[in-house]
Amino acid sequence: MNPKPAPSPVLRARGLVKRYGHVTALDGADFDLYPGEVLAVIGDNGAGKSSLIKALTGALQPDEGEMWLDGARVAFRSPLDARGHGIETVYQDLAVAASLDIASNMFLGRELRRPGVLGSVFRKLDTKRMRTESAAHMSELKIGLRSLTQSVETLSGGQRQGVAVARAVAWSRHVVVMDEPTAALGVKESAQVLDMIRRVRERGLPVVLISHNMPHVFEIADRIHVQRLGRRVAQILPRDHSMAEVVSIMTGALEVSSEPGSGTVVTDTNAARAAGLTPRPTD
């Protein structure tokens, strides 16, 4: 089934189903993430991308289906639960608490307390150590900042995203999930975030990247997971396909046969043409 019979997946899901009343957001979706790769998840609006990501990160509980982390069955009851298993998420627009400073954001929900009575009885935070460690993480990802004491709302969009990514990377043991990390950013800032993602990969952490931005996907992704109508319709390598083809797969104009090596199948010739493809005759 897997495109390469390489190592076993870090995170794997089979047959995930999530229904909201009459709407089926996930309709038997599968998912595989391998060690050390950047996996892009793409799909049209309503394809079930964000439901899939929420299921993988504990933000929603699927009605059916199974998940494995490092080969062990898991079922996340909450985002906290998923984080406890080493899966860290950078949520689109929901990444940071605006009025808190960088260190407070890095450690939000996992604050360090002072040793001794000050920490145990008076619950005093070890602000100094949190700042030091935050600074180290930020510089490790080469995120330059003027000051660690300023609130994150005074930062630029890219810097803010940097804080969110740094936090996710700092705490992650298994997987970093990034939901549209470049959606709200300019060209230069997007490039910085893509650089950060490369550095995360260099550290050996696999990254799941949800994005609408095809150039970004093609620039950074090792593999692409295409989500459509609530399921995974294709797993492809960027080098095998053009951007236009991938878009066509996303919209349903092209279909990738589940048979290994059988290539791409055109299902809607007009749509494929509209997408700028010259459909090849199928074998």
Partner: protein, 350 residues
């Protein structure tokens, strides 16, 4: 994040930490600003003879009721005449005791020689007044007494009981022995003025609270629209009400509106207390049968004079000073002294 990850970087963070301490200190310092000032500065001001003009404070129940506006006017007039420095304050709403306590404290701090107050709560204000008197400030109650009465040096008021009695007697005479169905539109529980007027009315009418002719009793807070609501409810309960006692003229006019919309305005007798200009006008136009007129301007005038006399001549003040009350009606009954609305309009307030 396990701490072992970055031991080396810890050392250099001291500067950041120190900066935080400084900011915290700045905040704490600003908070402690006033506390610090306390010991640094001198003694609090004491009331008494400091050679300057006599200072008098007037604290009314609220700033908005015309009764108190008129009272303030009287105090101002008298203050100008006697070269008195007058300051005024009021509760934020009818019944606001804490606001009056604060005003008393601030006036004592300002070094007034005397305070005139219409207490919002006749009992709750007492500790604050006692403190003021301990500091040598003369305290006069205007319009309504404190509980106990001895908490002030003197009371300048109309006899509210007598005011009630007058309209009670009047109503009794007007009914000429007919069977009365009485609605009592009262002020609020536990407020002396209301109780005194209420009791006075019943005494004048010659009945008790438990008398079957009292068919409805409602609290109105002295408010016109609440008076109207209360009257509407009373009419639901007893449609044949023919006498309405009201705590003041705004309530009387509210009641009149309720009666009028039921077509009952003509055959119902409304009596009231206060003698404000709107009220006396209503007597003139026949909406209100009679009202007991009081003189808030006089209360304040006399109060200011009393403080001046006390400071300059050290005169003693005791007990109760009646500022007078007159029954105002254009339909007087035999055997009861009354003034007509023209007399009332000459002396009305508001």
């Amino acid at each position: 994040m396990p701490s072992s990850a970055m031991p080396a970087a810890r050392v250099r963070a001291r500067r950041t930490a120190r900066a935080t301490t400084r900011r915290t200190a700045a905040c704490a310092a600003s908070a402690a600003l006033l506390l610090a000032g306390l010991t640094a500065c001198g003694e609090g001001a004491q009331a008494g003879d400091d050679g300057g003009p006599v200072k008098v404070g007037l604290i009314t129940k609220t700033d908005t009721n015309p009764f108190f506006v008129k009272m303030k006017e009287g105090a101002k007039k008298s203050a100008e005449k006697h070269d008195v420095e007058l300051s005024t304050a009021a509760g934020k709403f009818d019944g606001d005791n804490e606001g009056q306590v604060t005003a008393v404290e601030n006036m004592v701090a300002a070094g007034v020689d005397g305070i005139m107050i219409t207490p919002n709560d006749s009992e709750a204000i007492v500790p604050a007044l006692e403190q003021a008197r301990d500091k040598g400030v003369l305290v006069l109650a205007l319009d309504s007494p404190t509980e106990p009465k001895t908490a002030t040096d003197a009371l300048y008021a109309t006899d509210n009981h007598k005011a009630g009695e007058l309209i009670g007697e009047y109503a009794k005479a007007r009914m000429k022995g007919k069977k009365a169905k009485i609605a009592m539109l009262d002020l609020a529980p536990g407020v002396a003025v209301g109780t005194l007027r209420h009791d006075g009315f019943l005494k004048g009418y010659g009945i008790k609270d438990s008398d079957p002719s009292v068919v409805c009793s409602q609290h109105t807070q002295g408010d016109r629209s609440k008076g109207q609501t209360a009257m509407e409810n009373c009419l639901q309960k007893a449609p044949d009400i023919n006498v309405v006692y009201t705590i003041n003229e705004p309530v009387a006019l509210g009641a009149y509106k309720a009666l009028k919309s039921k077509g009952r305005a003509e055959d119902t007798l409304i009596v009231s207390v206060d003698g404000g200009c709107t009220g006396v006008e209503a007597v003139k136009s026949g909406k209100i049968a009679a009202t007991s007129q009081q003189y808030p301007l006089v209360m304040a005038e006399q109060g200011v004079e009393a403080v001046v006399q006390h400071v300059e001549k050290d005169t003693d003040l005791k007990g109760y000073y009646d500022t007078g009350v007159n029954l105002i009606t254009d339909d007087a009954v035999q055997g009861q002294a009354a003034k007509d609305s023209t007399f009332g309009l000459d002396r009305c307030w508001g």
